[in-house]
């Protein structure tokens, strides 16, 4: 049996917050071959202390890897994106675009448009994708996923729609 190659996904803050809200941050570490990274720029943008603590735990447990964006090719793109995006957004998009990685983000509008332009629609994944992957890998039941969907829908920022 051949092992699937690792696929690196750079995650956005809204995905982290969504998984925090449904108590599923550990999903980051249980969906191989996906390996999730988060730039330091984004870690410092999470201001809520409970979310921050949970994120730190997740990083310390090795479920999520914190990385610095210091590649010579990524920095000029980061600088260019800073004019229209926050530091965290610019960092993970620059990283994904120059490193050939996927991103996990539910962000719409300007960010989505720019991300599509830089890395293509196919490399943009959202919360719904993670939940579906969790179901596929028996990490979660459909019933659980439905409940999580309700929790996220109850939240004003939640835009998740599970695809059956």
């Amino acid at each position: 049996m051949t092992q699937e190659p690792t696929i690196i996904i750079i995650t956005d803050a809204n995905i982290i917050i969504n998984l925090f809200r449904i108590g599923q941050l550990s999903l980051f570490g249980s969906l191989p071959p996906y390996r999730f990274h988060v730039p330091s720029d984004l870690v410092v943008e999470i201001l809520d202390s409970a979310q921050q603590k949970a994120l730190r735990n997740c990083i310390e447990a090795g479920q999520l890897e914190e990385i610095a964006v210091d590649m010579p090719a990524a920095l000029p793109l980061f600088a260019e994106l800073r004019g229209t995006m926050s530091r965290g957004e610019a960092a993970y998009l620059a990283l994904a675009a120059t490193g050939g990685f996927y991103i996990a983000s539910d962000e719409k509008k300007q960010f989505r448009r720019k991300a599509t332009q830089l890395i293509g629609e196919a490399r943009i994944l959202g919360t719904e994708f993670l939940l579906l992957e969790a179901i596929r890998r028996d990490q979660m039941t459909i019933r659980d996923a439905d409940q999580f969907k309700d929790i996220l829908a109850a939240n004003k920022r939640a835009t998740v729609q599970l695809i059956r």
Partner: protein
């Protein structure tokens, strides 16, 4: 443009040195050690996006400038800091000014993004020779103030809000806490256009004078990249010129004379006129009731309330316009120093400034308005909007509420 680690390090060093910061001084805002700064500058250590963003902010640069084909080693603020070693040592001042410049730059970015052309807003310039003496500087300042009032169609009326006026002329204006000896500064730079800062810790009436003073630098000294107005250089000729401009701009000669005349004051106590009938002249003499023309502190209070000036500056203005003589000036100043002016102003409900809007509010309002519009047009992300709002003291929760209220969430 992609740079090697060494090239980027050299640019970081040039930017740091151009604003007079030591590696140690840069280390703190960058949240790095001095050793790490040294390594980054030498190209021996990579710099992350997070660190570079903080470094750019600390040295007052747009992060994009580090990757530009042509790297400008100097900008207006760094030139100002380099010109004055004492300034460079004031860490808090450095932080406050670079923070203001960062907001000014974001404002410029927003305007460019939204297609707002400031070129047509840019105010007039007056080409003047270097004043040869203080007298010359005063004459120049007064003349420019009169011409500028005429250009703006202000007539002899008071200028209600100087900050508004500057903004309407394409000048960015902000109030920042500066050391007490600095009243304000003017910066001219491609990334922020023309930017005026006045000292937020000074009382409103003094800030009004500072706005007008800095406006003189904008009109007359724009070929310089920056000017700083401090108590120590008040006798410099360009500072004297700017002060003369401010006095005339805030309390125009003609307007002051008319106001005083409307109070039934300001005429000579004894007037003589000769009427010539073709062959002989008839002498006519008019004497005012003794003491009736004497200007009192309550007249000064009304005058200052009308023009939005301080009573002490109005006293000097009245003296310079020869509406009061030196003994009268001394008497009134003594009364003012003893607190009589304040008592009278309270009684008349005539505070020193008629309009006392919180300085910087107009800038903040405009900044937030442009940021919301950029978000509505999907030119910036939601997180960027929240970041911009935080730069002018607005909390993320307030941004989220307003987005929900206006249906932009």
């Amino acid at each position: 443009m992609e740079l090697t680690r060494e090239q980027l390090g050299q640019r970081i060093r040039a930017a740091r040195e151009s604003c007079g910061l030591t590696q140690e001084q840069l280390a703190e805002p960058a949240r790095l050690s001095r050793v790490a700064i040294g390594q980054i500058e030498a190209g021996a250590r990579s710099v992350s996006s997070l660190e570079l963003d903080r470094i750019a902010h600390a040295v007052g640069r747009d992060i994009k400038s580090f990757f530009a084909d042509a790297f400008g080693e100097r900008d207006a603020l760094s030139a100002l800091f380099r010109s004055d070693a004492e300034l460079a040592r004031q860490a808090e001042l450095h932080k406050a000014l670079y923070g203001s410049v960062a907001v000014g730059r974001e404002m410029t970015n927003l305007e460019r993004m939204l297609g707002i052309d400031r070129a047509h807003l840019l105010t007039a310039t007056y080409d003047l020779p270097i004043p040869l003496s203080k007298w010359d500087a005063i004459q120049q300042g007064q003349k420019v103030a009169t011409e500028e009032r005429h250009r703006l169609g202000l007539g002899t009326a008071p200028v209600r809000d100087l900050c508004d006026l500057l903004e309407s002329q394409g000048v960015r204006a902000a109030a920042v806490a500066l050391p007490p000896n600095i009243s304000g500064l003017t910066l001219v730079d491609g990334s922020i256009d023309v930017f005026v800062v006045v000292n937020a810790i000074h009382p409103p009436v003094r800030r009004r004078f500072s706005w007008a003073h800095e406006y003189a630098h904008v009109l007359v000294d724009r070929d310089r990249s920056g000017a700083i107005s401090r108590s120590e250089n008040r006798t410099d000729l360009i500072e004297v010129r700017a002060n003369a401009f401010a006095a005339e701009f805030l309390m125009p000669t003609e307007g002051t004379l008319r106001f005083v005349q409307a109070l039934g004051k300001g005429s000579a106590s004894r007037s003589q006129v000769s009427i010539f009938d073709g062959s002989v002249a008839v002498q006519v003499e008019q004497r005012s009731t003794p003491g009736s023309q004497d200007i009192q502190l309550y007249d000064v209070a009304l005058l200052t309330n009308h023009f939005g000036a301080s009573r002490i500056s109005a006293l000097y203005r009245l003296k310079n316009l020869r509406l009061i003589d030196d003994p009268e000036f001394q008497r009134l100043k003594k009364e003012e120093d003893a607190g009589v002016g304040q008592t009278i102003a309270d009684f008349l409900s005539a505070p020193e400034t008629g309009t006392d809007k919180a300085a910087g509010d107009d800038f903040r309002r405009r900044f937030l308005g442009l940021a919301l519009e950029a978000y509505r047009r999907e030119d910036i992300t939601r997180s960027k909007l929240i970041e911009l709002a935080a730069m002018v003291g607005t909390r993320p929760g307030d941004v989220k509420s307003v987005l929900r209220s206006v249906g932009l969430d």
